[in-house]
């Protein structure tokens, strides 16, 4: 059974289509070439004959038969001429001209005849030649023939035809080769994309499409697919990180919870002891749920899917509200609270997540600033390259410059803060929220203390 798989491939079909179109256009061009060359020469022959006739007719009008014969004689004597002349008697006996016999052919209604001459005048090869001529019958029964040797013309036409045939043949060959090459090239790249896709599906997630760097559609396709894969990989890495964190960091408190309950079951005797153990277990569970919720919030912010529901958020209104919420708590801890709102910037974002981020920063500031200190909430408008900015400053111990990167990681708590409550996720969430909003999280020395700023990208003017 013949294998038609090749015939079904797009490569073959594209090549075939290409060849067909190529052939058709070349054919049109060749016909035109023939028309302009061979056709032109044929028309030129007839025109030359017509011009000769016009000249002879003029001679005949002026000088009658003797003048005509004289002119014919003199013209026939021109060497290597391809024009044929013959003046004959009414009985077709030649009188003058460069043909030895009156040709034996029947003229068509317009007087044209085609014939063969055995001994062409001054012909280069001397063999029999084709000729074309017009015959007239002059008053008195004399005959006149004016024509041209068409041998050369026919040769030329044949040469042109052969050239055109070769051109056509070459076209088929080159066209087929070109078609196969071009479609091969395109299909080869599509095949490469397919191959890579299959590899990725079978688990080689780090594979990427080859990009030829010439900026064509296939490159764009490959580039888009790569960007998509990067995005997917990024999300998967994020998800794996969450799973890992959950596995690592929830296992410890869960184990603690479990063993505590187990001990209670074995040792507790009175109802009060049971009650106390249950209360403890519940608060431990709540702490776990808090961690879990924070992790999910971080993952949600990092997934970036929320950007679709972004709305305009006034940073100054947000700051006023957060100040309203936190000022009493700060005063209660013996801290000064200053809200310094210098502009009314509006950013695109998620109000709740931004509020949560600011709340986390304020929680930290309140937690780590000793009494008599001061917490400052500042909102600034765009300045130069920097977009709008909201920052929380405290006068606490601050974070050493070399540790600022690491505190953004999940569950990282500095040695100094191990004893205070918290789960080490607060700044991670702030960082995730910042990145969701395209904002930069900056930590600086407040001398003394820490100043944490969310610097938003400049909004395009509307």
């Amino acid at each position: 059974m013949p294998d038609f798989a090749l015939l079904r491939t797009t490569t073959f079909r594209v090549a075939l289509l290409y060849l067909g179109l190529f052939l058709a256009s070349v054919l049109v061009i060749l016909v035109l070439i023939y028309w302009f060359t061979a056709g032109f020469i044929e028309r030129q022959t007839d025109e030359t004959i017509a011009a000769e006739i016009a000249g002879l007719r003029e001679q005949y009008r002026q000088r009658r038969l003797p003048g005509l014969i004289e002119v014919v004689k003199s013209r026939s004597a021109v060497p290597r001429t391809s024009t044929l002349y013959l003046v004959a008697t009414p009985t077709f006996t030649p009188l003058a001209g460069n043909l030895s016999d009156w040709p034996d052919a029947e003229p068509d209604p317009e007087g044209w005849i085609e014939f063969e001459i055995a001994d062409a005048p001054e012909a280069p090869d001397g063999g029999s030649h084709d000729a074309r001529a017009v015959v007239f019958t002059l008053p008195g029964g004399y005959h006149l023939l004016v024509g041209r040797d068409t041998m050369e013309r026919r040769h030329f036409q044949e040469r042109v035809l052969i050239s055109l045939a070769w051109a056509l043949l070459l076209t088929v060959g080159l066209g087929a080769a070109g078609g196969v090459l071009i479609s091969r090239n395109v299909m080869h790249r599509i095949d490469a994309i397919n191959r890579t896709t299959r590899q990725i599906m079978s688990g080689a997630l780090q594979e990427r499409m080859a990009v030829a760097n010439n900026g064509d559609e296939l490159d764009q396709l490959a580039g888009n697919l790569n960007a998509m894969l990067d995005q997917i990989e990024h999300l998967m890495v994020g998800m794996r990180q969450v799973t890992d964190s959950v596995a690592h960091d929830l296992r410890t408190p869960l184990t603690r919870l479990r063993s505590r309950l187990e001990i209670t079951l074995v040792e507790a005797a009175t109802e009060d002891e049971y009650r106390a153990a249950i209360q403890e277990a519940i608060s431990e569970a709540d702490r776990l749920l808090g961690i879990f919720g924070a992790l999910l919030s971080i993952a949600e912010a990092e997934a970036g899917t929320m950007q679709r529901s972004f709305q305009k958020v006034s940073l100054s209104d947000l700051a006023r509200l957060m100040a309203d919420l936190y000022e009493p708590a700060a005063e209660e801890s013996g801290l000064g609270f200053v809200s310094d709102i210098r502009a009314e910037p509006v950013v695109l974002g998620n109000q709740q997540l931004l509020a949560q981020a600011i709340a986390n920063l304020l929680d930290n500031a309140l937690k780590y600033t000793p009494a008599e200190g001061c917490v400052t909430l500042t909102v600034k408008g765009p300045e130069g390259e920097r977009g709008a900015c909201i920052s929380v400053a405290d006068t606490g111990p601050g974070i050493p410059a070399e540790q600022r990167e690491s505190v953004l990681r999940r569950f990282i708590r500095l040695e100094a803060s191990r004893s205070s409550p918290g789960n080490g996720l607060g700044l991670s969430l702030v960082d995730a929220v910042a990145r969701l909003h395209g904002a930069r999280l900056e930590m600086d020395d407040n001398g003394p203390g820490l100043i944490v700023s969310l610097v938003f990208p400049r909004m395009a003017p509307e």
């Binding site: 608060s283 919720g293 929320m306 509200l321 919420l325 936190y326 209660e332 998620n350 929680d363 409550p421």
Partner: protein, 261 residues
């Protein structure tokens, strides 16, 4: 956001067993205000254990509770009986909780709905409220938080009439003039304190949790790690209760606050 975990706000113990420290507990010391306290509640929840826990807790708190295990039954029961509050799980077999509420709202049922959901993101919450839910609580939740919210919803229904004055015992609030008096004596409140007191007075006799206050007075749902809400309530308490013999703002351990005469 883990907006529903009221128990861990402020560092206290989470809402423990049913009715622990509740002002009501089967006794008559709860003031009557427009309705007798007992509500008819429909719980639409497919998880049998979670439903049993909910039904038991709500019944022990003095309410009449029906349970539907799937969306179809739930829709039928909600449509045919007259409930005060519906508690609807977001993820139900056969029919999404959102769709049920949309159908009910489409049919003109105004019964307040509390969504329960394991989906706790900001977007999920917005979607739930947009579908016609009145409140949204993320699983897992402290029962005290759920009870406070359910009772707040029941109260909202009975107190839907617009009023210009609120009164609890000798505490009076003029909503138009923005003035508060206790025992005839004027009390000056900051705007935020006024809103806080208004919310407490509107839910007089009910427990309101810290997250409920954050959501309704400040319009935010997140977990502050510090006791910001407690400080606000403490300041309000200073102004309302300090110079008077009987305190009105009570702390309900492991749950929140309750204002009553």
């Amino acid at each position: 956001m883990s907006g529903g975990m009221g128990g861990n706000v402020g560092g206290g113990n989470a809402g423990g067993g049913f009715g622990d420290g509740r002002p009501r507990e089967g006794s008559g010391d709860r003031p009557f205000f427009g309705y007798d306290g007992a509500m008819k509640i429909l719980v639409i929840e497919d998880d049998a254990q979670a439903a049993a826990y909910l039904v038991k807790g709500l019944k022990e708190s003095g309410h009449v509770v029906d349970h539907a295990a799937d969306g179809k039954d739930g829709l039928f029961m909600a449509g045919s009986e007259n409930y005060d509050v519906l508690i609807v799980d977001r993820m139900l077999p056969g029919r999404d909780g959102l769709a049920i509420v949309e159908i009910l709202r489409g049919a003109g049922t105004e019964t307040p709905v509390l969504f329960l959901s394991a989906l706790g993101s900001v977007d999920d919450r917005v979607r739930g409220l947009r579908a016609g839910g009145d409140d949204y609580l993320t699983k897992p939740y402290a029962f005290s938080e759920l009870l406070a919210r359910v009772e707040a919803l029941g109260r909202r229904k009975s107190a839907a009439v617009t009023t210009t004055r609120l009164q609890v015992g000798d505490l009076e609030m003029d909503l138009l003039a923005r003035k508060v008096k206790r025992a005839g004596k004027q009390i000056d409140l900051l705007p935020r304190e006024f809103r806080l007191l208004e919310y407490l007075m509107r839910h007089e006799g009910n427990v309101v949790t810290r997250t409920m206050l954050l959501e309704n007075v400040w319009d935010y749902h997140f977990d502050p790690q510090t006791n910001v809400i407690d400080v606000h309530v403490a300041r309000l308490r200073q102004k309302i209760d300090r110079e008077f013999p009987t305190p009105m703002i009570h702390t309900v351990r492991g749950a929140g606050y309750c204002l009553r005469a």
